[in-house]
Symmetry: C2
Subunit: 378 residues, 2 copies
DNA sequence: GATATTAAACTCTGTTGTCGAGCAAAAACA
DNA sequence: TGTTTTTGCTCGACAACAGAGTTTAATATC
C-alpha cells in the first residue's frame, strides 16, 4: 500500500502533465521538505522521474515531474461496432504504443473468435513492455454489468467475459463506451473542472455517464449511465432492450430513417452520418427537418436529466456532436423549454465533447489508472 | 481540525448507536491501544462518554460508547405545507427536545412572517441548550439552490433565505424535504446497507435523492434529486415549474382528480389520502382504478430511473408508500415492464420508506451532522 | 471455592510520517 | 557584484500508530 500523500502526488502528476515539482507540492498541500522526500521515494520506486524545467523567471529553477521511463503502464482497449483499438498508456495519459484493426470483419455474433485474436495481439503488446503493463481497461458498445459484457446488440455479442482478454490482470475495468467517454471528458476533455458533469453519447445506442468530482457513478453493478433506456420516447417504439418508449431509439439512425420514411438501416451510425451530410447540402430540406426533430428530442431529454441531476455542465458525444453542430437552435430551444423555468436564466451549458472518437479508449485508460492507484507499491 | 481516526470513530458512534468500545475499535480498524487513547481524547473533549455494557459472555466486560451529556447537538427543522417542526438531535440521532406547530396558519405567501416566529422559537431552543447546539439543518418542500429556498409553490414562498433562521450558525444545511428523506432512509431507514440507493418521495410535489455510500448527490447547486421534473408525463399537463410533461404532476393529487373528473383540489395531499381511503372501501372501484393508474406511472418512471442509475434498492416515501400498499401489483407490473429485459430476473427491490413522515427532519439532522464532522475540535 | 480461560483494556516502546525552521542553491535583477 | 526571489535540502520536534507484553474482570470448569 502506498502512502496517501504519495498517492495524491501521483494523481496530481497524472492529472497535470508537466507540472513542476514546486507546483505539485503546492497542489498536494505539502511543504518543500515533504516534497523532497516524496519525490525521492517515488523516483526510487520507478514511478516518476524528473527533468529540468524551462526557466520561467527568477528564483531557483525547479524540475518537471514526468512518468518514469520504466514506470507502470495500462492497456486501454476499445471496441466499436466495426473495429477495435488498443493503446498502451503511461502516467499522465500519453499513449506510448497502439495496435488495432480498422475492420473487424464479420464480428457480428462472433464474440469468441474475435476475442481470441485480440487476446493474442494484447499478449504481444504486454510482452513487448515486459511486465510494465499493470492493468487493463476495456470499452465496449453494450451493457456491462459486474465487469462482464451482458449484451452488445450491435455486435451480437452476449454474455462475453472480457476479463479473459488478460485472465489474471492485476486490475481490470470493463465498461460501456459511453460511460468511459464521459469519464474521459471529465478528466481530459470538455468537462474538466466541472464538479458534477453529465455526458450523453449518441452512437449505435445512447449512453452516458454522471461524473462527480472525477469519479464516475457506475451504479450498483456498473450499469449506471444507461440514459438511453429512460422512457423519454414514444411508447410505440420497442427498444432492443425489451422495454418501450426508450429515449435512445428515438434519436438514433433508426429514428432518422423512420422520420424520413426510409427502410430501417443496417448500420444506423453510418446512415445517420449520411443523413447529416445530406442535411448540410442545398437539397437536404427533409433531412434538415429530421435532424432538427431528433436534436430537439435530445435537447428535451437533456433538460429532464438536468432538472433531475443538476450538473454543472453537459457534454454530448458521438452523433450528438453532429446534432449539436447541425441543429443547435432546435436543440437549445427544446433544452431551455424543458428546464424548470427559474433555471432558464442560467442553464448549465451543453457543449460538444472534445475527445470525439478517442473518448472511449481514453476513458478506459483513465479507469484502469484509477483502479491501479491503490495497488502501486511505495 | 480533528484527527482522521477520531473523526472515523465519531462517525462509527453516530451510525451505530450503542456500539461497544471493542466493536467500535474493530470497525475503525485500530488496535485496543489506539482505542484507549482515542476514547480518552474524545471523552476529554466532551464528545462521547462511556457506560458499562451488558456483560455478554466471558472475558473482560467492555463499555458502550454514547454521546456525551454535554456534547454537541444539532437543530433539525422541517417545514411541510401545513406545519413545521424542530428537533434537537444528539450524536447517534436521538432526539433530545422538540418544538413545532401542527398548524402554520395562513402560511401561504407569508414566508417572512412565519420565519420570524420560527426563528424566535429556535432561538429559545438554542438558549435552552446554552451553546451546545452547533449546527442546523432545514428541510423545506420546495426547490433549494445554494442553501437558499428558490421556490416552494405549495407554500407560496419564493426567494426566502432560510439561513436567516440562525444567522451565524457554524454549519447550515438547507435542503429539499425529499432529498433529506432519502438521506435519512439510507442511514437509518429502509436503504441502510445499499451502496447506491434511490429514494422517490411523492408529496405535494415529487422529489427524491440519489445516495451513494451514505453521501447524497446534491448536484452542482443542491438541486439534485428533483426527479419530479423529468418528462415522464403527458405533454398536455403544464407543471408549476414551467416545463411540460413533468413526471410529478402525473401522479400527485391533481393527477388523481383529473382521472376521477373531480375539480382540482386545493390540498392535493389531503385529497389523495381521501381517494386512497375511498379506494380501500367496497364502493371505491373508480378510485381504485385511478390509484392503479397512478401507481403504474410511478412504477414506470422508477423503472426508467433504475435503468439509468442502476441502484441497489429503491425506496418510496410519502404518498408513494400508500400507492405501493394499495396497488403494488400495478406498480410492480409497470416497473418490471419498464426495466431492460435482462434486469427483470433480478430487479432492485422497490420498498416502502421506513421513516415515513419523520424522514425529512431526520435527514436534516443527518446532513447537519455530516457538515459538522470536520469542524469538531480534538 | 480454586483455577483456567477468555476478551478486553492498559502501558510502554520503537517506528513512521509530518511540519517547520533554518540554510543552501540557482537563477534574474539592479 | 550584490540583492532578491524561488526553490530544494537537512535536521529536529512532535504526534500518530502498531505491536508486544501486562493487567483486569468476567465466565467456565473442575
Amino acid at each position: 500500500m502506498i502512502g496517501t500523500r504519495a498517492s495524491e502526488l501521483l494523481r496530481v502528476v497524472h492529472e497535470n502533465p508537466d507540472v513542476t515539482r514546486a507546483d505539485a507540492a503546492r497542489l498536494v498541500g505539502i511543504g518543500t521538505g515533504a516534497a523532497t522526500e516524496l519525490v525521492a521515494r517515488l523516483t526510487a520506486a520507478e514511478l516518476i522521474s524528473e527533468r529540468p524545467a524551462e526557466p520561467s523567471g527568477r528564483g531557483r529553477p525547479t524540475t518537471v515531474l514526468q512518468p518514469h521511463p520504466k514506470g507502470p503502464l495500462v492497456l486501454a482497449v476499445a471496441f466499436t461496432h466495426e473495429s477495435w483499438r488498443a493503446e498502451v498508456v503511461q502516467l499522465g495519459g500519453a499513449v506510448v504504443a497502439c495496435d488495432g484493426d480498422e475492420e473487424m470483419a464479420h464480428a457480428y455474433g462472433e464474440g469468441d473468435r474475435i476475442l481470441v485474436e485480440v487476446k493474442d495481439r494484447l499478449t504481444r503488446l504486454r510482452r513487448r513492455f515486459r511486465g510494465r503493463i499493470r492493468g487493463m481497461g476495456v470499452s465496449v458498445p453494450g451493457l456491462v454489468a459486474m465487469d462482464r459484457l451482458v449484451e452488445a446488440s450491435t455486435l451480437g455479442w452476449s454474455g462475453v467475459n472480457l476479463a479473459t482478454l488478460w485472465p489474471n490482470a492485476p486490475v481490470t475495468a470493463v465498461g460501456n463506451d459511453a460511460t468511459f467517454a464521459g469519464a474521459a471528458e471529465s478528466r481530459r476533455g470538455a468537462a474538466v473542472g466541472a464538479a458534477v458533469a453529465l455526458h450523453i453519447r449518441v452512437d449505435a445506442g445512447l449512453g452516458g455517464a454522471l461524473v462527480e468530482n472525477g469519479r464516475v457513478l457506475t451504479g450498483a453493478v456498473g450499469l449506471g449511465g444507461e440514459f438511453g433506456h429512460i422512457p423519454f420516447g414514444a411508447d410505440d417504439v420497442e427498444c432492443p432492450c425489451g422495454a418501450r418508449g426508450c429515449w435512445g431509439p428515438s434519436l438514433d439512425g433508426h429514428a432518422l430513417a423512420r422520420l424520413l420514411d426510409h427502410p430501417d438501416p443496417k448500420d444506423p451510425v453510418a446512415y445517420a452520418r449520411r443523413v447529416l451530410a445530406a442535411a448540410a447540402t442545398e437539397a437536404g430540406e427533409r433531412e434538415r427537418q429530421a435532424v432538427e426533430v431528433v436534436a430537439a428530442r435530445l435537447g428535451r431529454g437533456i433538460a429532464g436529466l438536468v432538472n433531475a441531476i443538476d450538473p454543472d455542465l453537459v457534454s454530448v458525444g458521438g452523433l450528438g456532436v453532429d446534432y449539436l453542430a447541425a441543429a443547435s437552435r432546435s436543440l437549445d430551444d427544446a433544452y431551455l423549454a424543458g428546464l424548470m423555468a427559474f433555471r432558464r436564466s442560467d442553464p448549465p451549458p451543453v457543449v460538444a465533447a472534445e475527445l470525439l472518437e478517442g473518448g472511449p479508449v481514453a476513458g478506459a485508460a483513465e479507469e484502469a489508472w484509477a483502479r491501479l492507484w491503490p495497488l502501486l507499491p511505495t
